[in-house]
Amino acid sequence: MKYVAIINDRRFEIEILRDGTLTVNGEPRDIDFLEIAESRFSVIKDYRSSELVIEESASGLQVLMDGRIYEVQVLDERALLMANRKGGIKSKTGEVVAPMPGLIIEVKVNVGDIVHEGQTLVILESMKMQNELKAAREGQVTSVAVSKGQTVDKGATLIVVGDVPA
């Protein structure tokens, strides 16, 4: 089974063979990978002992190791093929969802606006704090589902950012 893992723009081609052999970019590797609890893993590789938290996110995997978070995408052969056909791997999600229930204090964009990554789109009040919800990617706002003064549930889609029309 062949996979490609992408972290920080680095590609690792990893193959897992039926006999349990593992290679990275063609070179054999030994690794002891163990699930300790849900989402928590212990890895021993060349004596180095590491503890990892692996969680799934909208755009791939979030891996926490030594206090640092890594965004990782793992593609198998089929996904790789599809991604290549589409001209690239899946980009960050454009859906802005409410991370908790709360009150919409302000909506800062309208449908059609071009936004940049990190731009504040909505202000949501919850836990007595005003939280700025930001765009995870650049693009054009294709949908605004809420307005000022509205209360929203956790997980509600508030804004959708789509591709900028070419």
């Binding site: 030994d30 190791m65 206090g67 990782v72 704090m129």
Partner: protein, 508 residues
């Protein structure tokens, strides 16, 4: 001052929730006093409800329906025969009416006099009280002005200014404003936030000192007229005007400054005939000029760092003082015997603009071993709701030196695992690795202006990346296998995947 009566305290009602309620229950238990918890619907399973000897239900989750209901809390004390009430911090801790009502009902309020709370709780009277003692004040306006008057005052004081809530605390209702154009909107936002948090939308402004530190002095006074300070705490590591890391002593402090600021702090407390634990908050600019900010007439979130460097249990001293006895310390602490750091563990996502995280805690591994203290109100199965503050625990480490405390904090953070909600533990790990923090070079704007979760002091090594790549791939491979029902048989109950490991090679 006449000799106070000794008052009997056999059973304390704790009018609070979360880690501080647990902390107070523990202190009571440590001196053999029975405890009563109060709880809202959201807190039936909370640790304070379960750890107290008795627990009384007081209403629905919104604080104004439960933890802010003076009538229900006093009724709960009567029903259970409690003879004293400890308010903790927040909620009713700085409400002079509550302190007065408690006293009127013949109960002991474990805190200062209602007069001291009232004087220090009102910005104007607080400034007037301390000014007589020659305490330096930050230029600013009084509270209760109309926006137009505030805007005019800001021009006189000069920008930048800080908008603050009159009833404030915990950074709520606060806004830094750098230009006249921003001020009207900032006032409106601050008023709205203050109204929502405190039921009081009054705001005022103060000159914003640039490059300044937030340093505070812990005060302890008894009813026999004794007042001492227990040294300072460095609280400049803040985000959105909320403290996230505190330490004692301050790396900025020297003996001379401690002496002078300590005297000022005692004078400020004396101005209101203070007894109980209290805190004098100050701003200190680069040139070591210090200004009185406000006095908190209650236990502070960050009191453990002072406890660890002085050996004094501040909550026990509060109880002792409320009983009318002489407090234990007889003189101010001019040389702390250790160094302590506290990290506030918040349910929030440092990788996503510190958005509060709600949900159920599925796993906790608490750091342990020498020099580590954890004050926490949560447990596996605890549900973090949007009703209350996002702070779920405090991690405190102590060492002989700042460096030892810091290394212990790094170690303790790396041991601390909380799953089910996002926490700011990665933020703290990053901070403990930042050169500026290690060097003690920071001011109140450090986190917002010169710190980031994505720039690290060191790039990950190739080995780091390869381990992450391999682990992620094996994780995905496993998920795939599970999806197609071809699950590798687990050797032990924990699922174990080894690829070309020592054992397998040996067995080949």
């Amino acid at each position: 001052m006449k000799t106070p009566e000794t008052r009997n305290i056999q059973k304390v009602l704790v009018a609070n929730r979360g880690e501080i309620a647990v902390r107070i229950i523990r202190a009571c238990r440590d001196v053999g006093i029975a405890t009563v918890a109060v709880y809202s619907d959201a807190d039936r399973t909370a640790l304070h409800t379960r750890h107290a000897d008795e627990a009384v239900y007081i209403g629905t989750p919104p604080p104004r329906e439960s933890y802010l209901r003076m009538d229900k809390i006093i009724e709960a004390a009567k029903k259970t025969g409690a003879d004293a009430i400890h308010p903790g911090y927040g909620f009713l801790a700085e409400n002079a009416d509550f302190a007065q009502q408690v006293a009127d009902e013949g109960l002991v309020f474990i805190g200062p006099s209602p007069q001291a709370i009232a004087t220090m709780g009102d910005k104007q009277s607080a400034r007037a009280a301390v000014a007589k003692y020659g305490v330096r004040l930050i230029p600013g306006t009084e509270a209760g002005l109309h926006d137009d008057d505030i805007i005019a005052a800001a021009d006189k004081i000069g920008y930048p200014v800080m908008v603050k809530a009159a009833a404030g605390g915990g950074g709520k209702g606060m806004r830094p404003v750098h230009t006249p154009e921003e001020l009207p909107a900032a006032l409106a936002n601050a008023r709205r936030e203050a109204e929502s948090a405190f039921g009081n939308g009054e705001v005022y402004i103060e000159k914003l000192l640039v490059g300044a530190r937030h340093i505070e002095f812990q005060i302890l006074g008894d009813m026999h007229g004794n007042i001492v300070h227990l040294g300072e705490r460095e609280c400049s590591i803040q985000r959105r005007n909320q403290k996230v890391v505190e330490e004692a002593p301050s790396p900025f402090m020297d003996d001379d400054l401690r002496q002078k600021m300590g005297e000022m702090a005692i004078a400020a407390a004396q101005s209101v005939g203070y007894y109980n634990a209290g805190t004098i908050e100050c701003m200190v600019d680069k040139d070591r000029n210090y200004y009185f900010l406000e006095m908190n007439t209650r236990l502070q979130v960050e009191h453990p760092v002072t406890e660890l460097v002085t050996g004094i249990d501040i909550v026990k001293e509060q109880i002792r003082i409320a009983r009318g006895r002489r407090m234990t310390p007889t003189e101010s602490v001019l040389s702390p015997r250790a160094w302590a750091i506290e990290c506030r563990i918040n349910a929030e996502d440092p990788y996503n603009n510190y958005i509060p995280s709600i949900g159920r805690i599925t796993t906790i591994t608490t750091p342990k071993g020498p020099g580590v203290r954890v004050d926490s109100g949560v447990f596996v199965g605890y549900e973090i709701t949007p009703y209350y503050d996002s702070m779920i625990a405090k991690l405190i480490t102590v060492g002989e030196t700042r460096n030892e405390a810091l290394l212990r904090m790094r170690r303790a953070l790396s041991e601390y695992i909380i799953m089910g909600v996002k926490t700011n533990i990665p933020f703290h790990i990053n901070l403990m690795n930042s050169v500026s923090f290690i060097a003690g070079q920071f001011d109140t704007r450090f986190i917002e202006e010169r710190f980031s979760m994505t720039t690290y002091e060191q790039e990950p090594t190739d080995t780091d990346l390869e381990i992450v790549a391999l682990a992620s791939t094996l994780y995905s491979h496993r998920k795939r296998q599970q999806a197609s029902q071809v699950v590798a048989p687990a050797k032990r109950d924990t699922s174990n995947w080894k690829w070309v490991t020592r054992w397998e090679r040996l067995r080949k």
